[in-house]
């Protein structure tokens, strides 16, 4: 892979945390109300059924409580957030047409080149809506659908009615699912027909630009029987002193024999509340793989969830989270074995430094009747200094005696002794830490394409700059 096509290539944190001038052609006033929800729907020109669903969600949102556990959300003010910002009045068919200010950040990140060289399709979203969606002809011809979700509402209503927040993430699931149901905008819709196996990934890139805004993209991936797809998403935002909110929902349906790999590298700036719901329904002999790197944000709550509801269904969760200076990452995995001979493997690695707090929160449930189920959870924490904090909250509910469950946890502290040893061989502080951290993350980084592994390492190094003396 040429270096040019690497994700988030060669940007310094300053460069991508620099905002572009604000632009919008339509936006809702700050705060949330029934009117705001109505306005969002009307600005989008949505069919009645979707508008109704939004309003129902809003009612549920009002009734539900904020979570009493997890990251500290006490500073989150719904009244101070703009829930919908439309930056341009249409979608663009080619990069040439995309306005310069939007294009700048995407160019810097090498997204257009990546699309040319290594992607099967790309959706670009700026603020609340997608401005670009392209799928290579070869896949279009095979019946693959890859577009932004707003377009899918209008173009594929039957699919949307069946799959959108119905049995995967219902709107009543929790407060933020309900919020999402009311104000969702943008995201991607993927449908892969039976037997179609994409050999290049699909990618969506989200950029939040305006201050005090929210991004609520909704992604649905339907992999029909025997199909396979790798979907990658990444997101960034400029740094402001005020808070923004990101509350996305991802619903994955891996039908019989299908395989879906979902990779995220999240690098929101440190003023973003990142509260997401990602869930997969995994049918007979299908597999889902979640690979995630959570580096940025002020607070993240994210527990990708796999429901193994078909015989022989498999899930793998590989997760890396870093937390520094005032960041609170509460992340983990949920796996529910609801059928026999299902297998799951969770590897969660977190790095905490300089006052950051990183927690693993996971649920492993093996339902009665899930005979021959095998589950393995490994959560490792690396503390770089005395001010870092790491906690583990593993929940295990096993109702089937014919099941194999293993849970391993470790906490490792980088000691002065270790650093002195490496320095005595001529490595400086950064190089020493790099070696230790790369070694720690290796079981996960070797699952990433080389480009991503290199970028992930680079991003983590940036997070650490100056964090340890």
């Amino acid at each position: 892979m040429k270096k040019d096509t690497a994700l988030m290539h060669a940007l310094t944190r300053d460069e991508w945390e620099t905002a572009s001038p604000e632009r919008w052609v339509a936006r809702t006033p700050k705060g949330l109300s029934r009117q705001v929800v109505e306005e969002i729907s009307s600005l989008k020109g949505e069919p009645d059924w979707m508008r109704e669903k939004r309003l129902q969600s809003y009612d549920i949102f009002l009734q539900k409580q904020m979570p009493l556990w997890g990251a500290d959300l006490s500073d989150l003010r719904f009244d101070d957030i703009s829930f919908f910002i439309r930056p341009q009045d249409r979608q663009f068919a080619s990069w040439d047409e995309v306005p310069a200010d939007i294009k700048t950040i995407y160019n810097k990140l090498g997204i257009p080149q990546a699309e040319q060289n290594m992607l099967a399709g790309l959706v670009g979203q700026y603020e609340s809506e997608g401005f670009y969606a392209k799928l290579r002809e070869v896949w279009e011809k095979k019946g693959v659908i890859f577009t932004d979700t707003d377009t899918a509402v209008k173009k594929y209503p039957d699919l949307m009615k069946e799959y959108f927040m119905t049995r995967c993430v219902p709107v009543a699931d929790h407060k933020f699912a309900a919020l999402h149901g009311a104000v969702w905008s943008g995201g991607s819709f993927v449908y892969v027909p039976k037997g179609v196996r994409l050999d290049m990934p699909l990618q969506t890139y989200f950029r939040m630009n305006a201050p005090q805004s929210g991004q609520f993209e909704h992604t649905i991936i339907i992999a029909d029987e025997g199909s396979s797809v790798h979907y990658i998403e990444s997101c960034t935002a400029p740094r402001y002193s005020t808070d923004s909110l990101h509350s996305a929902v991802v619903e994955i349906f891996a039908k019989k024999g299908a395989s879906v790999k979902y990779t995220t590298i999240q690098n929101w700036s440190k003023n973003v509340y990142n509260l997401n719901t990602k869930r997969a329904l995994v049918y007979e002999d299908a597999s889902v793989e979640w690979v995630g790197g959570s580096l940025g944000s002020k607070a993240t709550m994210l527990y990708p969830c796999s429901w193994l509801i078909g015989r022989g269904a498999r899930a793998r969760h590989l997760n890396i989270a870093t937390a520094a200076n005032g960041q609170w990452k509460d992340t983990g995995a949920k796996v529910i074995h609801g059928a026999p001979y299902t297998t799951s493997r969770v590897i969660s690695k977190s790095i905490a430094m300089a006052g950051g707090r990183s927690s693993y929160r996971g649920l492993l449930k093996i339902a009665k009747g899930a005979k021959g189920a095998k589950a393995h959870v490994q959560c490792d924490a690396l503390l770089l200094d005395d001010r870092a904090q790491s906690d583990t909250y593993p929940y295990m509910d096993v109702y089937e005696s014919d099941a194999e469950v293993m849970h391993e946890a470790s906490v490792n502290r980088v000691t002065d002794e270790q650093l002195f040893y490496l320095k005595s061989r001529g490595l400086n502080a950064d190089q020493s830490l790099d070696l230790i951290i790369s070694g720690f993350l290796d079981p996960i980084s070797r699952e990433l394409p080389l480009d991503y592994a290199l970028e992930l390492n680079r991003l983590i190094r940036m997070e650490m700059e100056g964090a340890v003396g």
Binding site: E417, Y421, K423, R425, L435
Partner: protein
Amino acid sequence: MRESILFVNNLHASIGHTPVLNGVSLSVGAGEVHVLMGPNGSGKSTLAAAIMGSPVVTITSGTIGLYGIDITNDSTEERAKRGLYLGFQNPAELAGVGMMTFLRSVLASNGAPLDSEVIFKERMVSLVERTGLAWQVLDRNLNEGFSGGEKKRNEVFQLSVFQPKVAVMDEIDSGLDVDGARIVGEELKRFVAGGGSLFLITHSGMAARALNPRVVYIMKDGKIVKRGDKDLMEFIETHGFDSL
């Protein structure tokens, strides 16, 4: 006048508030072997740590020099880059850091051109086997789960890989059996024959036997109390430190 490669001048140092080195002076010339012995608690390891710039040791007065350059205020990595090496008495375990990755990273950071992974591995295998370690140790993580003897041999193995100019070896022979001590002695001999200068801290003198020490120091209560040659070493072995 014989050029001093490693020079310690009236060094006073503390660990926390406790003075541990109370005026140590020594000078090691090119290609020479100097041996330091002394009872437990005399400050030998602290001296080794101070020479390497350990963050735990505070220099209160005196200087340390390498090739005539004052390195008293240099960082540890700077000292290493100048060619100084410390063989630890209790090497730290680096979980997750593979031996090969470590070796290559260090060589790369010194600007050494690197062979292909295959050729490099072959070279490492032959070097590591010379110290009596099984080659499989190269597929493990740095010192992680190594026995005491394996850790010592690893410190000696790294000498042949990194080829420093001055090696301070802190009790490299303790915890090794007779054969192990002999192998280590031979490796150290090779190191000196290749032009290295050696400051060997030893509890028993086992490894020093194969070498030809120019000076033998006896340390007690943070100071050097006696200087001599090989005969002094033999005297201590027979009569102990109390007889001084």
